[in-house]
Symmetry: C2
Subunit: 283 residues, 2 copies
């Protein structure tokens, strides 16, 4: 992959910080610039070696960048896109803009609306992370072996799409390409639903009881310690699919509930065996 001159990462939390570390480890850019809203986060990223330079000023941050990655919570992505749109003469640059938002239909529609037609925007979602989501927890290999969803539309600039895909591959990720809509249905089921369930489970257990928990409860609810704002944005930017997933989960739980209520030994056994078999297949 041809080296970038300047990669600018907006939002240097776990994802932004890890992108920076990965880029620097693999020498994919001459300079990595971090842009943020708080000097404290930028300092953490600098200290970690995730970025070479840091700034609170978006204009100077994106100046000369040939790749801009917006790695903020979803609700901030359109605001940054708006500011970026007015700051550059997009007809003259070849800058690629991408993002790391966990939902794609909302983000891609918004950004295709906001950014001029001459920009080179490609939606992406690195499917990696942790409940520990500051730059201090960033690692250069966070994306190694992880999937990254790249979600082009009919408006996507083909050459930029190829470059974004090559970029993620270069930092170790497995690129999976699909339309934004399909992506959002998928992650609602395999990512948003588990988070809602984990949060609901924690909230359903009293403080008296929670002190007795063991590994089972801990594992089942680990993700509930994730950043509340990030997850709030995820659910509210993909509500239709999130609600659809809750509804299909409830049906599945209702089936177990009915079997226990009716003492339907056979049905309960079959449901548990089906879950066991399906779960073992993804060990």
């Amino acid at each position: 992959m041809k080296k970038f001159s300047k990669i600018t990462i907006i939002g240097v939390g776990l994802i932004g910080g890890s992108i920076g570390l990965a880029v620097k480890k693999r020498r994919l850019a001459k300079v990595v610039c971090g842009v943020g809203r708080r000097m404290s986060s930028l300092k953490k990223a600098l200290k970690k070696g995730a970025i070479d330079v840091a700034t609170l000023d978006l204009e100077s941050g994106i100046k000369g960048a040939d790749l801009i990655i917006i790695a903020t919570p979803i609700s901030l992505i359109p605001q940054y896109a708006l500011k970026i749109a007015v700051l550059s003469d997009w007809a003259k640059t070849e800058t690629i803009i991408t993002d790391a938002g966990s939902t794609k239909e909302f983000v891609v529609k918004k950004l295709e609306g906001i950014l001029p037609k001459t920009t080179h925007f490609v939606g992406a979602h690195p499917f990696a992370g942790s409940e520990k989501n500051t730059a201090s927890n960033a690692t250069a290999d966070l994306f190694k072996g992880s999937k990254v969803f790249v979600t082009p539309t009919k408006n996507t600039h083909k050459k930029s799409l190829s470059k974004v895909k090559a970029f993620w591959k270069a930092i170790g990720a497995e690129v999976v390409q699909m339309p934004p809509k399909k992506h959002d249905e998928l992650v609602a089921a395999i990512s948003h639903m588990p988070h809602m369930i984990a949060a609901a489970l924690v909230n359903a257990v009293s403080r008296d009881m929670i002190k007795f928990v063991s590994t089972g409860f801990r594992d089942t609810t680990r993700i509930a310690a994730g950043d509340a704002l990030m997850w709030r944005d995820i659910f509210l930017s993909n509500p239709k699919n999130a609600l659809k997933s809750i509804s299909s989960f409830k049906k599945s739980l209702d089936a177990l509930e009915r079997a226990i209520k009716k003492e339907d030994v056979g049905f309960l056994m079959r449901q548990l065996e089906a879950a066991k078999k399906k779960r073992e297949a993804i060990l």
Copy 2:
């Protein structure tokens, strides 16, 4: 702790096998005998060094034992207790009988009804385990740092209770004593509920989607790979509390669902923050 002459473990899966290994590592008995229904399981336990001798014959297995531990799935515990009851002259022995069942009210009531008043039965539930539940996965330190619930009633022989507690402590566990009823309410919330939810979650996701899952889904559903028969017995021997837990979980999930539906940003944020804070407290 005074050494036992002969400890007999009925059912040598993960729990029974790990008890055997722990006893042998700490030399807590002159001999450890394993009793089972299948020679294949007993051979695994022998090979692992979890038991010294193995037999399919209950009578010879329990002969001369001063501690009998029933570590089978719950539905088999009463059957073994019945057989044990008729095999010994309990007025003359000082044998302690205990179990490792994950629910206690059903087991303790049954066994206090079945075993003669002269027996020394003490209900117990080692709160440890794994979805990999054969003797091949047994370890001498499975109980180290784990909680073991000991659930005496007004009928429990005091000296035997002390001995059972000392036994679990000797193999590394933290003993928590509580009445069977309170135990069952507690584990329904912190153990049975997570399992039902994990199983329901796996069953709610299509095979097409499940191949894309990441660490979040994997952790949330790990326990769904647990033994179906063991869990079936757990739910059906504690149905009232299991159903009560499902109901309080559903309320908690409904709250998130409503917040997403109504786009109640503030409420959703508070719910997610509450879950995060509570979960972080048990990291």
